[in-house]
Amino acid sequence: MPKWLMHGETREEDVVVSSRVRLARNVKDHRFPNRAEEDEAFSVAEQIYGAMQDKEDHYRRFLVRDVDRIKRRVLMEQHLISPDLIKNRAVSEYYLRDDEQMTLMVNEEDHLRMQCLLPGMQLRESFLQVMEMEKKIEETVPFAWHMEFGYLTACPTNTGTGLRASVMVHLPALKYSQQLKGTFDSLGKVGLVVRGIYGEGSEALGDMFQISNQRTLGFTETEAIDKLEKITNSIIEQERNTRNALITHTPTMVLDGVFRSLGILRYARVISAKEALQHLSHVRVGICMELFPEADIRKLDDLMLHVQKYTMLAYKHDTKQKETEDEVRAQYIREYFNKEESYGKR
């Protein structure tokens, strides 16, 4: 189970799965990773390592090239590292805090990407933690800075605050009632952007969407966080209202959707990640409706992370199973629901 999902209290978890804030920084007077030779990239990494010395107790350092190929993808699926970090593996590394809620990525698209990932609606907490880390590193590492443009990044879309805040939201009712287009169009107008669960260019699976700020110049960090929080709160309300309306007007249909999906998850012998996530999304709605009062929504969110491609392949590899990925996944899910008594007896 990803540790980051399990620590601390969460809020609004019926709609918000996780909150994340990341800051992009570069070290002054060094070529950015896309332009740097290996020696220079290593020297940047050593500077960051120096700044992390007194935090060694709580952080572990990993060189991406030393991490197993599948394990790297697993970390990506669990949102702990980014695709660009894997791409730059010759020179990239990361630091992971004990609770896995904070990651520092070194030599990604920028020299340093700090991210704090928390369960539920915790944008503010996430922001405070990441800023604290940034200030700590800034004590010893001078960051690339321009009086007019702010913090300088490789891609101009991050220059300024270098801050990207995002929430992962579960919107099955808005999707079912075909209201997503309207909701998402209005997000574009206020400078927010919607993506699938793996960020840019990825497909939305299991009715999960990632909403983040698009711009990093012209407003402060706090303004960016406030805006995202305000809009997310309004989306939470829309989703809840729509769920309530569907339950009030078409109760049988909603119940049928939840239990039919539970049935498939309990009995299927072959299931793709996409299909599994769709059915798990329906079961998640059932938990929010208190159809399974004993069920733990965080455990279900954890299952949703586990059924993804590479996490499943790693599991198949570890357990030395000969079956196909989709067979292994179906078996894993069957076992989960058979063990969990909170979903009722079979």
Partner: protein, 178 residues
């Protein structure tokens, strides 16, 4: 998401933000995006598309590729003295080579920030070492605005005092940045 021009799946979404107004969104499929960049739409009645085309050309020029219509300027030969990137390298990759590129290609950097972000001035957090300078800069800006007001009100006496204060702050700034 469907393309605004044909009914194919749109793969490119462009938000145009101008003068702080609400952004306009264009959704395009790859074919239409290419057509819009390099074809003339003189027969196209829709003014909006010509407007989009101009912007698309600019955007693509700044960000992804050399636009076909662009003429060589002396700046194209210039390379960043720190990392060796030319601005054409930057537009090809969409990435600056180092922090110095932002000052060496100041005008182009500013334009690409304006195009991608709709703003060019950072208002957020300032590193500890630059906080004082930033405060002085902000103070100068405030006093200059006040000065303009006083001149309009023909209060030249107070204006003169303020002008001297601005001068003093500018000197302090110069000393601070040296």
């Amino acid at each position: 998401m469907r393309c605004d021009r044909c009914d194919n799946e749109a793969t490119i979404q462009i938000h145009i933000i101008e003068n702080g107004e609400d952004p306009q969104t264009i959704n395009l499929c790859e074919t239409c995006a290419q057509n819009m960049m390099f074809q003339n739409f003189s027969n196209e009645d829709n003014e909006e598309y010509q407007y989009f085309q101009d912007h698309l050309k600019k955007l693509v020029g700044v960000f992804f590729n050399e636009p076909q219509t662009r003429t060589e300027s002396p700046d194209d030969q210039k390379k960043c003295s720190f990392c060796g990137s030319s601005f054409s390298d930057i537009t090809k990759t969409g990435r600056f080579g180092c922090d110095h590129c932002y000052t060496e290609f100041y005008e182009q950097a500013k334009e690409s920030l304006r195009m991608t972000q709709g703003a060019t001035a950072h208002t957020g957090d300032v590193p500890e070492d630059f906080r004082e300078i930033k405060q002085i800069q902000d103070e100068i800006q405030r006093k200059k605005e006040k000065l303009q007001e006083l001149i309009l009100l023909e209060d030249y006496e107070t204006a003169a005092i303020l002008r001297d204060e601005v001068k003093e702050l500018c000197n302090a700034l110069e000393r601070g940045t040296q």
